[in-house]
Amino acid sequence: MLRFALAGNPNSGKTTLFNSLTGSTAHVGNWPGVTVDKKEGVYKKCAEPIAIVDLPGIYSLSPYTQEEVIARNYILDEKPDCVINIIDATNLERNLYLTTQILEIDVPVILALNMMDAVEKRGDKIDASELEKRLGIPVVKISALKSTGLDKLMERAYETCKKPRVGKTVIEDSALKHLIGDVKIALEGQGVLNPTFHAVKLAELDELEVLMHKDTVNMVEAFKKTHKDEIFGDDFEALVADARYKYITKYFSPALKRKNEEKFTVTPSDKADKILTHKIWGIPIFLVVLFAIFHLTFSENLFFLGGLLPEGWVSFEGTAFEGVFGVEGINSPGVMLMGVMEVITTALSEVVSGWLSTSPEWVSGLICDGVLGGIFAILGFLPQILVLFLFFSILEDSGYMARIAFILDRALRKFGLSGRAFLPMIMGFGCSVPAMINTRTLADEKEKLATVRVIPFFSCGAKLPILTAVAGAIVMHFGVGNVDVITYGMYIVGIITALVAVILMRETTLKGDTPPFIMELPAYHAPQFKNLIMLLWDKAKHFIQKAFTIILASTIVIWVISHFDFGWNYLTDDKMQESILGGLGRLIQPLFTPLGFGSQLKAVGWVFAVAAISGLIAKENVVSTLGTLAACLISGAIIDVEADGGVGAVAIMIRETGITLPALLAFIAFNMTTIPCFAAVAAAKGEMPNKSAFKWTILFWIVTSYIVSSAVYLIGTAWWTAFIYVAVAVLVGAMIKLYNKKRSNKEKN
């Protein structure tokens, strides 16, 4: 099958073109070894089917970003039959800069002038035949958005791919011309493919090329000594970039006939930008937008209209959909969809348990509670994850995301992160899974890794029940504090943990300069429904695949060990303490002693250990496990976790185990900062560059949760231990500073 590669700048409409060309045949994978999306699909309207590969959006073929290296290596090594270079016609000069580099490779190229509708709307004209003559490749005007010109583009691309093309460079007026010519001849002599491209890159002393052609580098170095440009000195990289832009402004820019010669006109996008990045209002507006997103995803009292409804109002009362629309308040779309999902999964469970009513109890238990219960618990998150993802995709697509990064960059730089890292972290308050996937927008690998690792510390929606149940029980049993204050305080502990962890990582294991912030701010535009839906569909597919593999396997294991004893006898729910899990709980209980909920507790103290472990499947399990176990302890007592959010169950546990107040706070802190749920672990694994990074991440979570919750417990128990922690922290900080200083001095010498 023929293979065409789609190359172009970010925001040039590449994704839209790709979606229009490939439709439902598109599928997303990863490029080997990295987590950059690799999209492939098939175009079927030509004489033969054509595979279309969407290269990452890039500005240049320089070797400084992962995306650039991927695109460059793909065109050079995989030798596609044709490169379709899509460019944003409203921004000709910078887009053509990449074109001048692609033209140096020996591959058929066709130029797609996208967004022609916007150009024409402005009243400007582009002379395509003039461009075609200058570039020596076909040029086709298209509008990916309106799907115009696409057939013609593919027709001409199909013709083009049949004729081999030899690379050509635009660096003709430059003093480097001779050098490039000589290097090219030398490379041809060595039988190197794409000699023009490699010759130009060698002249720039491109890092990758220097490694590839060690012998030929001498030629460049020798030339460098004898030749110095009066303006650029011996910075040939600058010379080449300059030559490209000079050529573009001299020969290509005249093809654009502007109606309005004024250079800095005010567009509607500029007007929107004026408000959204306003000096005073920019940040408040952002906070409102953020709040609105969370409100629309997680609120059970949409727009706070609950007060207007009659007391005790329940939507669809008496039907299967009871409460889906809301109870004493209108549900947000996210909660509504979750309700619908719950109705469906409950119905399915009932059907299945009906079928299994005659089979042995452990079979129906395994299938209904273990398999289905596990999958449905995870699928229950899906609607909210997707809704949250949809909103953040709209932010990204509309161009507002870039502005958020712009507004917040200054504040985040203190932690060694760029403005872009803020959103994934905030998304973590909703759900870690979409938050971790969103870290793909971070260009710097180390920044991304640090961000993924701290996302779970931004306590997600599923961890909230732990907070409210334990805090509620604390107030009830000890008669101190206030649920809101405790909850709020624990959120702050999570945020501080995240920030400290980021600083530590950026100073030690993930050291690196704050990534540069030289970033295009694309014009605002309405997001595209079709693109959004395709994106959501991909995410949903990925998530469901994971739910049915890694997550399913782990829920079955947990169910089995909580329902069988060591003699493989089946146990009912209320005998969980005799199960393998119970045994293991008692075994690992001492591990939690420094955290206050280990061996110091009375007989049934292992329940806290078990609850914490069951949280690995889904954090909701922590409270429900406590509820189940509380029911076993007080035989006959009916503990409805649903009714009071688990407060009563936790209160019973406090009474039975004699756990102290600081230990309860440590328990919350542990659950907030330890390994997140399986779904999040799987998402994190997907974003890791390699296996060892993933292993270190798991270890990092365990160690962090241990340190944080033991600190909470010890300081809570004996306040003066705070001084020890502060002293140790200062000492560690000073040691790291000293070490880094020594190291950088060594590097300088």
Binding site: A241, D242, E520
Partner: protein, 79 residues
Amino acid sequence: MKKTLDKFSIGESGVVVAVDGERKIKRRLYDMGITSGAEIYLRKKAPLGDPIEVTVRSYELSLRNSEAACITLEVKTNA
């Protein structure tokens, strides 16, 4: 008059004379169209004063003050 981009005030524009700094940052600036002769117009500064937003080659680019300090321009007098 020549000065670096970080010293510009909002509304000022100039023509790029030279780009210095670390190789990686320099390269990124070139790739984004900041080469000698390019005209840069300072549109705005972020609410916290940094980064800044400029118009170059008819599109909007954001960069930090530290990166803007690498760019020397000949100031255009708004006659």
